[in-house]
């Protein structure tokens, strides 16, 4: 009995030790970005590092807001992440409805084709897209970027929505048909409310992905009119390049904070939905 208890105590102790280690490995680097962003310049370079904030300063944030069109970048980022997700969800919902409910020749081809096209690496499509975008003046435009942001979301979104729709009992629709509702009102008033939780979780996941996007704007947005927040990371380092070395890192940390706070807030508010969204994307 005693040894059994001792073993259990040992197990509990070991568990908390590993848990602590895990939390430390995750949180320490994030904490350190915050520390770097809010530290006054001369406090950044201590050897060994000091892990407790000695004083707070906002001069790094002041530097990036005055040195770069940060607000414009953040607006672009928000716009692209939101609208691309909405557009992709709308298009996917229409397609998913047809694929789940109306059996038509070629339905399987569309489903499998979508899945196959999602395997095509971004770098194996980017060069012709770049040429097309130059020819049709889509470079540096938000609508040009929307098209590419949204495109990447379609395959998984359609697949997940098809599996949602197949769980909606068909009687729900029949009742609507008896009432004489036509297609779009039926979709909006009958189907959408039923699958709304699923749509909300997908929206969150896709929004975070869009907010964090870097490769697409790197290639297709070269002027400030369409640049996004993740691109400000390297630009922030150049603001104070002639003055002090520390300013570069502090500036970059400040941009990192600006790029990260929104997704962290979403993560804290919607932890459960995000987990559901991640697992839906994998298991469906």
């Amino acid at each position: 009995m005693n040894t059994h208890r001792l073993r259990r105590l040992g197990g509990t102790l070991l568990f908390y030790l590993f848990l602590l280690l895990f939390l430390l490995v995750v949180l320490l680097p994030i904490y350190y970005i915050f520390l770097t962003a809010f530290a006054p310049g001369d406090k950044l370079f201590t050897k060994p590092l000091s892990y407790l904030p000695q004083s707070f300063a906002f001069d790094r944030f002041h530097a990036v807001f005055t040195g770069l069109p940060i607000l414009r970048y953040m607006f672009n980022t928000f716009f692209l992440a939101t609208i691309s997700t909405v557009l992709a969800l709308a298009a996917s919902l229409l397609a998913a409805y047809a694929l789940a409910r109306l059996s038509f020749p070629g339905a399987n081809l569309v489903l499998v084709g979508l899945l196959a096209s999602s395997m095509l690496p971004g770098s194996s499509t980017v060069i012709p897209l770049f040429q097309l975008y130059q020819r049709f003046q889509l470079m540096d435009t938000l609508h040009g970027l929307l098209l590419l942001y949204g495109s990447g979301l379609l395959p998984v979104t359609v697949w997940v929505l098809v599996s949602f729709l197949r769980q909606v009992p068909i009687e729900v629709e029949d009742a609507a048909k008896v009432d004489g509702a036509s297609f779009f009102p039926m979709l909006w008033h009958i189907i959408l409310p039923v699958i709304r939780p699923g749509i909300a979780t997908m929206f969150l996941i896709n929004f975070i992905g869009g907010w964090n996007e870097f490769f697409i704007p790197l290639v297709f947005a070269r002027g400030p009119s369409a640049k996004v927040i993740t691109m400000a990371l390297s630009e922030a380092q150049l603001i104070g390049s002639s003055t002090q070395f520390y300013a570069d890192w502090g500036n970059m940390a400040a941009v990192a904070i600006l790029a990260t706070i929104p997704v962290f807030i979403i993560t804290f508010l919607f932890q459960r939905q995000i987990v559901e969204g991640i697992t839906n994307g994998v298991f469906k």
Partner: protein
């Protein structure tokens, strides 16, 4: 009535199909086509050269080094992620106070942008003022050089990737664990099996198909990685930490060698395809074992 229904169906799938055809399928086919050309906007060339780009590929050290790093990166990162992901899932599956908070914390690295992770890692791996070396120094008194030494730079990229992406896998494994009926463990307890034995004989075999399918999935994602290498090492030292997506980017958008970059992109696609096919075979086997 039937034709109306059919027409509706095609109208409904049309936006998605056209959208994907124009932004994914067509550009992909065009990349394949371009890979047989010497196409550069700088030299103003568009000449058919057959397989020359592909022959040049085999002699390009940027490409061969990328392949060797890809192999290292995939092997180490995927192994670490699976082992650590299973461990974290086990931790977060246990009941304790503040468990929900710990699960949220687990999501934070997943939520951070890959490019932000890469940029922060440059700072973390700084020799004198970086977080990593500060901790190593406190323990061992040494301050290793990370980003200029071939082996260390490779580990720096791999560890950064592991930090960023393990939480995603932990989430998946956690939901896999939650799907295992508790009766199985209770039966094992009656048989006298303790924690580690029941993990080995019950948990792992049941999770195996999930582990295998996720291994394929994350292997493909590792092969396609771009941001961490772009931000952390720029492929260096030399091209010791370069990955093929990064070579495509450099050749396509810095050197503006569209034809050659397309050939590299096709090599990348071929690798993804082979991994996918091999992986699918492996997956079927692991299902059959169950």
């Amino acid at each position: 009535m039937a034709t109306r229904r059919l027409l509706l169906a095609y109208l409904l799938v049309a936006p998605v199909v056209i959208w994907r055809l124009s932004t994914s399928v067509y550009p992909f086919l065009r990349t394949f086509y371009l890979s047989f050309f010497d196409n550069s906007p700088v030299r103003r060339t568009f000449d058919y050269i057959g397989l020359e780009n592909y022959i040049a590929l085999t002699k390009d050290t940027n490409v061969t080094q990328s392949l060797s790093f890809t192999f290292f990166f995939v092997t180490v990162s995927v192994t670490l992620q699976i082992v650590l992901g299973l461990g974290i899932a086990q931790l977060l599956n246990r009941k304790f106070r503040l468990r929900t908070l710990a699960r949220t914390v687990n999501l934070l690295p997943w939520a951070i942008a890959p490019i932000v992770t890469g940029a922060a890692a440059v700072w973390a791996f700084n020799q004198d003022y970086g977080l990593v070396n500060d901790i190593i120094w406190r323990i061992s008194g040494e301050r290793p050089l990370w980003l200029v030494n071939v082996t260390n730079a490779r580990f720096a990229v791999t560890l950064t990737d592991t930090w960023k992406n393990t939480p995603f896998l932990a989430v998946i494994f956690l939901s896999g664990l939650q799907g295992i009926p508790t009766e199985l463990y209770e039966a094992a307890k009656i048989d006298g099996s303790d924690g580690i034995r029941s993990y080995w004989y019950i948990t792992l075999p049941l999770l195996l198909p999930l582990i295998v399918s996720m291994a394929i999935f994350i292997t493909i994602f590792r092969v396609l990685s771009f941001e961490i290498v772009y931000a952390l090492t720029g492929g260096g030292p030399g091209s010791a930490t370069s990955l093929l997506s990064y070579v495509v980017y450099l050749q396509g958008f810095r050197v503006l060698n569209f034809g050659y970059a397309s050939a590299v992109a096709m090599l990348l696609f071929a690798i993804v395809l082979v991994v996918g096919i091999l992986g699918f075979g492996l997956l079927r086997q692991s299902w059959n074992r169950l």
